[in-house]
Amino acid sequence: MYDFTYQKPSSIADAVKLLAEPEAKALAGGQTFIPVLKQRLNKPSTLVDLAGLGLAGIKAEGDKITIGAMTTHGAIAASPEIKKAIPGLSMMAGWIGDTQVRHCGTMGGSLANNDPSACYPAAVLALNATIVTDKRRIGADEYFQGMFTTALATDELITSIEFALPVEKSAYEKFRNPASRYAMVGVFVAKSAAGVRVAVTGASQNGVFRHTEMEQALSGNWSPDAIAHIKTPPGGLNSDIHGSAEYRAHLITVMAKRAVAAAS
């Protein structure tokens, strides 16, 4: 990696001030960013480590669960509150990467990066979660704006993610990229106060998206059969050496059916 300055501020204000510097980058676990640095694909002036801001933790209140931005996948997977209230989210966190990755990577880091193959965007979008930043609250539908693109301003930090309760049904299924184990296609299905929502990650060139046709079908009939016939047009889907757009389109239906079955 190239040389950079490392800073670990202890307040959000300090962190935001440091991040205002051109070429400063936030470090929120680093499970994507550190490999990028090691390959010299990014040359930050300053690395602002967010681990000292007190943003980790899970809080379950009556009508919501709030997950601090710096909460690790491992902590989310292990949380009994999340397992009980939103089993799909618990399942998802437990499947990310490997043990080491799950104990370093954070939900806020993943959401801020918005990798098109990341898992969390599907959960956040399907559960209609709210992204809370140091400046405002952003709804999931507004937050995701295409691959590696979000509604966040450059000097804006996610502080927590709020999931409204109750969630009646939730499940996640993913088809892993055979080599990297990232989601080649991941589908999160949820039924909550926001209605039935189906979010697909890994498949599209534009990152996570809602599958409205499946949402409509499942609203009337929550069963795998209700969506078995639904075909996703391959246009705009990713295509690489592991899976063509057609294959991904097919897998969306398969994974969605399995997620619905798992949440039944």
Binding site: Y2, P178, A179, S180, Y182, I241, H242, Y247, H250, V254
Partner: protein, 791 residues
Amino acid sequence: MGANAFGQPLTRKEDARFLTGRGRYTAEIVLPGQSHAVMLRSPHAHARILSIETRAAAQAPGVLAVLTGDDWSADRLGGIPPGESLIRLFGTPEGQGYSFRPPPRPPLARDKVRHVGDTVAMVVAETLAEARDAAELIEVEYEPLPAGTDTASAIGAPAVWDEASDNVCFRWSAGDGAAVEAAFSRAARIVRLNVVNNRIHVGALETRGALGEYDPASRRYTLHTGTQMPHGLKKELAEDLFGVAPDRLRVLVADVGGSFGIKNALYPEQALVLWAARRIGRPVGWIGERIDGFLSDYQARDNVSVGELALDGDGKILALRVRSLAAVGAYLAPEGQLSPTVNTPALAGVYRIPCIEVAVTGVFTNTAPTSVYRGAGRPEAVYVIERLIEQAARETGLDSLELRRRNLLHPSALPFRTGLGLVYDSGDFPAMLEHALARADHAGFAVRRAASAARGRLRGFGIAHYCERVAGAWGESGWVELSPDGRATVLTGTMSNGQGHETAFAQLVADRLGLDPADVDVVQGDTDRVPSGKGTGGSASLSIGGAALAEASDDLVRKALPLAAEALEAAPIDVAFAEGRFSIVGTDRSVGWRDLGRRLGPERLEGVGSWKPETPTFPNGCHIAEVEIDRETGHTSLVSYTMVHDFGRVLNPLLLEGQLQGGVAQGVGQAAMEHVVHDPVSGQVLSGSLMDYQLPRAADLPALTLETLATPAPSHPLGIKGCGEAGAAGGAPATINAILDALAAVGVAKLDMPATPERVWRAIAEGETALPRVRKDGELPPKVMPLEAAR
């Protein structure tokens, strides 16, 4: 004798070191004053180098040297020798040879780059970060040229070498073509199959590395590196690269974290670090990163073949004919000609095939050079014949087991001369097949298949039954020395790269000398200390190196006997050696190695032995894979894997199992996961990291069932046959045969490796469309394509 004797499952002496992080790999050797090198590699698959501007890099902080091919040439140094003469096997026509054998390859490309990753310049600096920073300042002006990376279309693709406009490196053949032709003309049925043996990146856990030293006082070079063949490396570096006598060069090898053939042959970096060390007067270290490996390690396999079987009306094989295109890559690696030619006799398999013809065309492509990899042509050959057997069963409508049984060589037919001239001397193939079927519970397969079907899954049962020729190509010597404290020191020219030689040789010698294996030290990987060696390869370390050490142990006993007699104040003729003690026959008076050690004067007591086999050995085995396929996704799970092997006498069943596990994993990896993929237009490597190149993981493999059914090797002094490549020999064909067996239920007849989920899914989709046209029971199978069309 006891828990450490020949045949006992002694745990590995080296494990404590490896498992507690105390292994010593090339990257962990740090010398005083060491500098660090990085390689600048070609971003183009094929391009002319117009200019290389190094001034800015040379002035960058910490930089000690920036070196290019012009510098190498100005120092009048040699190149990496290309593969040697083509082997002559039974039926190889006189005078057959290379169409174009490239010249020795300078370690830095000069006028042209021929594959992505070709080495273009070297930067040496005080720190690795400084070397990397400086490398970014080198400006290379390229004129990109059209490139070809595909083997099947290599002939006619843009020429990799101006001297070989058709991209042909060699045309080679073996076997009795006339007899094969005659057999095909009278055959009742001809079965023809195109198979692809996909290109593999070996991906040893320890990346390649080299650390060079030069001592101006003695004018000696010392190379620390991971290799399987230290002495060969020393000779090539001295004679071919630096033009000095071999005694001017020392190769030192510490622990090696996997090789499987790729660390056999000389690489550019091994020469470059020595050269740079001489130029700057300091040690120069280079440790390859994963990306260096993906782009510049020798790669493996990469053949496309057409196999044809001629059968009579009873399903008996009359002849086998195979034509292959084999990619040698952009250069001919030092052993690049070996895999496609030398080990083709494994095509004969375990069958009574009266005549065989094989013809191979070696072709250049704009890819990393290919070289030997676990099996070195044997797995490729086994893949062809074992796929053909199943295809023949499918096309004739005969049950595949019945077809196998009708064609298996019976022990009473041994010795048997195969159609490619080998003489099989031992083995019981029919018993092995039946035993493997029983161990894999073939009888219960129908029930398991039905249970899978009930869960929406397709289940398949696949067999690969092989016989390979190993350990016959060279000799080794071995030395066993008694130390004053009664320990034995073993010197061997073979080189462990993870498979446990320290344990194996200690156990073998300890058994021979009646010592505790803990009291036997194994010295390897030092060309100054070990007088000679061929090295490790071809399943030969134990069978050849071990036989030499057994003889050396016996020689030590012979030489120690007079000393023992002296100690016992007896006539040598009255002294006998047994179980670690020399005793006066008929008395209870004896002395052991410790007593003798204490009596050693200034003279060394060393036993010497050597073994150069006159005939090879023939390990063989039957692998059975069982798979389950998710119909909706095409994902294949290997649910069980059973092997019955004949390795002759087994020294240590634990080491054996380790060898088989690794080999099977590599075979399964090739069958269902691994594939080096290039962009068809640009020649860029699309599978250049572990994010895109799928190596098998522990969770991908079930517990393996391994059993041995030994017939001792009649030609070998210890009865050993060799096991290093056996897992890889059967792994790929057994897995693919199982997948095809599963997919037959949905009308799939064709599938190439790797059987990735999408490929399997597509095959299912196409098979289901084609299914109505597939024959019903009793209906004749489709007519086989006329032979003319097959050519």
